[in-house]
């Protein structure tokens, strides 16, 4: 665990791009948190000026059709994106990890069942499955449904990776030694094997996070995502018509720009994380 942390820190201290990505992600998280507690961007829902006012000193990103500040709405959009990212990651990763640990360790019927479960889920076209879930889940359209739908569909790759690693680790001497000392299965799994698969899980978590953010945009754009709240997907949907109809580009630019910078930072972060944790490189 400590070793893992040190590796990450060493890598990120050296690599300027990695450091940049962490900085950008931190800024987004802080902005999202401040928006959540109502300090930053509180006027996202009310009119503060003329409709379609272009960017100015007072309103740096301009105003939308109802005269609402696009800056405030973009910041609130960051809050939505981060909520979706964190919640679905926190559903998918523990679920995939535990299933992968159990399947890889016990093999047999349990393993066959888990493999069947994830190959089934993996075969269904993701976007259609997400849209279906968003339509039929009893929670109704909204943020919660998006998080659940993304959470229950994105554990597959984590499970597959963890299962593969456990099958490999199981043969190592340290597992046999632990067993001969009388360690229980759950102790072997969670205290001994899990830490050795942690680097893979971390990379998976980061991938699920960015994937969830990108999917939320599409779902919200298609109208089955976040309702009655500024999300970047909703903003892009609004902006599409005003762009073609009136040449109003600022809402589109702001929402896609905010999304682009966050996803770019995550892609750089993923690369750096993978490099830092790749056992073949150190």
């Amino acid at each position: 665990m400590r070793d893992l942390w040190n590796k990450i820190r060493r890598r990120f201290g050296r690599d300027k791009l990695a450091l940049f990505s962490v900085t950008v992600i931190s800024i987004y998280i802080v902005a999202g948190l401040l928006a959540l507690i109502g300090i930053l961007a509180p006027h996202y829902a009310q009119s503060v000026g003329e409709a379609y006012a272009p960017p100015s000193w007072v309103h740096p990103l301009g105003l939308d059709v109802l005269g609402r500040s696009i800056w405030d709405r973009v910041v609130q959009g960051a809050r939505v994106a981060l909520i979706v990212g964190f919640v679905s990651t926190f559903i998918a990763i523990p679920f995939g990890t535990v299933l992968g640990l159990i399947a890889g360790y016990f093999r047999g019927v349990v393993d066959a069942f888990v493999v069947w479960l994830y190959s089934t889920l993996d075969s269904v076209p993701t976007i259609l499955l997400l849209l279906t879930l968003a339509l039929v889940l009893p929670t109704g359209k909204g943020l919660a449904t998006v998080c659940i739908a993304l959470g229950v569909t994105s554990w597959v790759s984590t499970c597959r990776v963890v299962r593969g690693e456990v099958i490999r680790q199981k043969e190592f001497d340290y597992v046999r030694a632990a067993r001969s000392l009388g360690a229980t299965d759950s102790r072997i799994l969670f205290v001994h094997v899990l830490p050795n698969a942690l680097h893979l899980i971390l990379v998976q978590a980061s991938l699920v996070f960015v994937y969830s953010i990108k999917s939320e945009i599409i779902l919200s754009y298609l109208g089955v995502g976040v309702q009655n709240f500024p999300s970047w997907g909703v903003m892009i949907d609004d902006a599409r018509l005003e762009l073609v109809g009136r040449g109003v580009w600022w809402q589109f630019a702001a929402a896609t720009g905010a999304l682009f910078i966050l996803v770019l930072a995550f892609n750089l972060f993923n690369d750096a994380l993978r490099d830092a944790l790749d056992p073949n490189q150190s």
Binding site: D122, L131, T132, L135, L243, F252
Partner: protein, 310 residues
């Protein structure tokens, strides 16, 4: 080879059953009773009971599941709630427009990304490679929505180089398809170039490359005649796995450009909560994915005999 294939096909059966069960549970059980939807707000209790019986919705769970499997085995997906048309007919109608967009886009994107990845690998760690990698990462980070809206606005609406939307069968339809195809290629390039570049670089570390270089072959020759054929296995597998995407097409692209294909049909079905259509599309998409998986494995086994034995 034959025994490998038959084993692979047998393995697919439980997965296929799993998919039908998942879809059945999602739509029939979680999705609620469709009778209210079909009869509208003013239906009385008798009508509702009759319709429920007619559709077999009062039968026990497993009987209904069995009915669903039987319908599927006949290729019947029921009727759309919205247009009342047979879903199978709607899918056949949409297939042509979808493929007219998807096939050229798929081929172009494969050729261009392979060429760019080879170039990047050839100039690895020089400025051209760096530039290609930076562009790829940026491309990967842009949402497909951004590509579509920005390109449609700039090139079709403002510049007027392409029609804004529409579709026509045959050669007269080419101008309509040009921009969506270009957007598809541009949006997929980032991830593909990075993937293929990694494949090429991995292959370039092998000893046969050192040998080829040592006997005096130039890098371009080594890449095209030695590395490319050997990298074909991961490349082909990747391409085969992308094939099912041709069926669903691009939901968003077809929707934005008014192409009457399967993607557009799906988006309309989602907006209207037309569950039979979504269910059929999801099922067929899953079957194609499984088929592509089997073809991919077969290709692998064909090129690499070691796979067949294990």
């Amino acid at each position: 080879m034959l025994s490998f294939l038959s084993r692979r096909v047998l393995h697919a059966i439980p997965t296929l059953l799993g998919i039908t069960l998942l879809l059945f549970v999602l739509f029939h059980w979680v999705g609620g009773n469709p009778v209210y939807r079909l009869l509208g707000k003013n239906a009385n209790a008798v009508e509702i009971a009759r319709m429920t019986h007619q559709l077999g919705l009062d039968k026990p769970f497993w009987n209904q599941y069995w009915d669903y499997l039987r319908d599927l085995s006949h290729g019947s997906f029921g009727r759309s709630w919205e247009t009342k048309q047979r879903v199978s007919e709607m899918i056949l109608d949409g297939l042509g427009p979808s493929l007219s967009l998807a096939i050229p886009a798929f081929i172009l994107s494969a050729l261009i990304s392979l060429a760019m990845a080879l170039t990047a690998a050839l100039y690895r760690d020089r400025w051209l490679d760096r530039l290609l990698v930076v562009l790829s990462v940026c491309g990967m980070s842009l949402s497909v929505l951004t590509f579509i809206i920005a390109a449609q606005y700039l090139f079709a609406f403002r510049a007027g180089w392409f029609p804004i939307s529409g579709w026509e069968p045959g050669l007269t339809g080419v101008p309509f398809l040009a921009l969506p195809i270009l957007i598809w290629v541009a949006a997929s390039l980032g991830a593909s170039v990075r993937f293929y570049r990694a494949v090429f670089l991995e292959e370039m570390r092998r000893e046969y490359v050192v040998t080829a270089r040592a006997k005096g072959l130039s890098w371009p020759r080594v890449l095209v005649h030695h590395v490319l054929p050997n990298a074909m296995i991961p490349i082909l597998t990747q391409l085969v796995m992308e094939l099912p995407m041709l069926f669903t097409g691009s939901l968003l692209l077809e929707n934005f450009f008014g192409i009457p294909g399967l993607g557009n049909m799906s988006v309309n079905a989602i907006n209207a909560s037309d569950l039979p259509v979504i269910k059929a599309m999801t099922f067929i998409g899953s079957v194609l994915y499984i088929a592509a998986n089997i073809v991919g494995d077969a290709l692998y086994a064909w090129f690499d005999p070691r796979v067949r034995v294990s």
